[in-house]
Symmetry: C2
Subunit: 425 residues, 2 copies
């Protein structure tokens, strides 16, 4: 049995490694079109910030590691140009053809717009992109940087450049940071950016980034799934043209799996397929695809839309749906924003802002945002667990959360928010 | 309508305040036998540590605050000596009698052993106890301290005295720290204590604390609920002689409620009543008792046994059941301990130890322990939320937890543990 994996970053290598762990006999080949595999894509902003000084620090393993330790053949510079489902082969750019019994697509995502190359213009999609920007920053005195985008990568990059004394302006085409359809969240993020001298131009569709008045332009706007190979092979596509997959990560072809940023995922709160490319999700999907391709039977039910990033020393975290998103999915949302100390004053407790969203009809919890100094990840994860369990607000408000003065307050900020929201339910 | 609340610390004042918020008309009286109300009992170890310099910092509100801001009459030095359920009265030590329409008992807990007073012997049950020890420490050079007990208060006190350069020895009668019946947990705590030069004598029943070779003895062993008034009034008692309550916090008398450390609580993992006195739980029970006494209808389902404390710079957190406790409750437990970095290396990620316990038959998650530097509260709370939702391990392993390098790793330590434990299920 030959398992071929297309793509060698997060999902692809998680799939290959899992398959090997469950089956010592199967033959496994990973085909990566780039020249590096197994790198920590979520660390790229910290290379830009210069917290990470050497790009090599972001490379977890080299191809020979996989061959030596896991008996997985990893080929770099191996671009697949065609999948032939009937013949169970893939054809490479080099002209070579490989047979497969099981195929896993982990082809990732890329920016929607591919701008022509220019010395002042940068993307941050691959390690190569980040290395190019990192080198440029090492040779260039700080000046004015323009960033296109409103997602967390755009904001992380703005923060990284600010750290390096660049004067940063963010441009984005709507007035909706993080694509959350949440005016209050955008307003709060605007305030944080302003307080740290990052300018932001809302409602600005940039048609030619090189005409922006800036010494450096980073395009971090608009990703799309790399699903062309799948489409050409007539595999079914779904949300945002990502590859449609079952909970077992199979595509519409029973021996072809897809995982990671190229595939869609069920949003467990809306109940509908969505496209939410994230490294941590890619690893989970990859694990399940690898297990099933190796003949086991596992499932990945979906995500609840959790994300987190650091901005100007704060943690910004989201999960579930905003009120507006909930409305679009047929819920009758009620929401609350509260501010409460993260822990005891005598443990330097700062104030966190917590938003909770619930459905008025069912009292089901639907989403949250948290902006704070400390404990942000833990608190958003509590909501993520509650959302996965379809928890109702009257149960959430009585959650048995840990309390001691170094860690929290007797009524945790999450529960303060839930108590407030109960009044609207 | 007259609501009388017996006890003015956490549960009592939460109940009175909630009743007032829901009903502006009701007459509310709080009777506290001590001379201080509304203090943060969980902060007492930090007074001993001298992180808090003035005992007054632990007092949240004085009696006149409640009268002025909430129209709640708070009487200190008002010890109730008898409850007369038929006549709906309470009799005070002073001889005075008060009528009530609804009565809430929030009488707290106290040490099992009341040792005779001695200048070298201290307890840490009330603010008064802590103030006495605080004064003593201010006047005494560091020497040798003996602490009796193995619960979190004993350990917090050991840590506080260590901070003040005392040489500390803990004595306890079993070899089971935190009463968790978990040998590996005890072993790990032993190692932390040893590394910080806190000695520990296991299996040492101390019959006369004054014969210990120490300059100072703190007794932090063995609490019991203050349920004598309830027993005399023929209210039903439950686990550990705590007052039996319904999810509405009613006792066996329909107009008498109980809340906080004097009352029992359902453990939602074992499904059985338990006695787990904790400030954060007391506040929730108080809220519900107050709401129901004011004519609303709310419920408090129970706890999952979450607790946390700081020890030698680490967070130590527990929730649910240990494997041995699970076995005692009829489960067939499997467990795993893993060690994994709390976040990216370039964000100074340290190693956390995570234990997960699940039921082999049903794959239901049953409990967790976490020992770590950062994110400990958040991670234990994720398990607490999962336990409240009776989550199964295959769902837990796919939880959509937040990931970015400053906050976690792509596969969170909780999920690393869950992946390991899946192999035993």
């Amino acid at each position: 049995v030959h398992l071929v994996v297309v793509g060698g970053v997060a999902a692809g290598l998680a799939a290959a490694s899992r398959a090997r762990r469950l089956d010592a006999e199967i033959e496994i080949t990973v085909l990566e079109k780039g020249d590096v595999v197994s790198y920590a894509a979520c660390g790229l902003p910290y290379l830009i910030e210069n917290r990470i000084r050497q790009p090599e620090q972001l490379v977890l393993h080299k191809p020979d590691f996989f061959l030596r330790e896991r008996d997985i053949r990893v080929e770099t510079g191996a671009e697949v140009v065609e999948i032939q489902p009937q013949r169970q082969t893939v054809r490479l750019q080099s002209g070579k053809t490989l047979n497969w019994d099981r195929l896993i697509l982990a082809t990732g995502a890329r920016p929607v717009h591919q701008w022509p190359e220019h010395p002042r213009l940068f993307a941050l999609n691959t390690l190569g992109d980040a290395v190019r920007l990192h080198k440029h920053l090492a040779q260039t005195p700080p000046g004015r940087a323009a960033i296109l985008g409103a997602g967390y990568i755009a904001l992380e990059t703005a923060d990284a450049l600010r750290h390096r004394q660049w004067r940063v302006t963010l441009h984005h085409r709507s007035a909706d940071l993080l694509h959350r359809h949440d005016k209050e969240l955008t307003r709060r993020l605007d305030r944080i950016l302003n307080a740290h001298h990052i300018d932001i131009v809302h409602n600005h569709e940039v048609n030619d980034p090189l005409r922006l008045d800036a010494d450096l332009v980073v395009v971090a706007a608009g990703l799309r799934p790399n699903s062309e190979l799948a489409a050409q092979a007539r595999l079914e596509l779904g949300a945002a043209s990502a590859i449609r997959v079952s909970p077992q990560m199979t595509t519409s072809h029973p021996n072809i799996y897809a995982a990671g940023d190229c595939a869609e995922v069920v949003h467990l709160v809306s109940g509908r397929p969505a496209w939410i490319p994230l490294g941590s999700t890619a690893l989970k999907m990859g694990r399940v695809a690898g297990a099933n391709a190796a003949g086991h039977r596992e499932r990945f039910g979906g995500v609840v839309g959790t994300s987190i990033f650091r901005l100007c020393g704060l943690g910004i975290a989201l999960t579930g749906l905003s009120a507006e998103q909930a409305r679009q999915h047929g819920f009758e949302p009620v929401e609350v924003w509260i501010e409460a100390p993260e822990r005891a004053r005598y443990f330097r407790g700062r104030t966190a802002a917590v938003q909770l969203v619930a459905d008025k009809r069912s009292a089901r919890l639907l989403g949250a945002s948290i902006i704070g100094q400390d404990g942000v990840a833990g608190r958003i994860n509590v909501v993520a667990a509650a959302l996965a369990g379809r928890m109702l607000l009257p149960d959430f408000v009585n959650l048995d959360l840990a309390y001691a003065p170094p860690f929290s307050t007797p009524v945790d900020p999450l529960l303060v928010a839930a108590q407030q929201l109960m009044k609207s339910c």
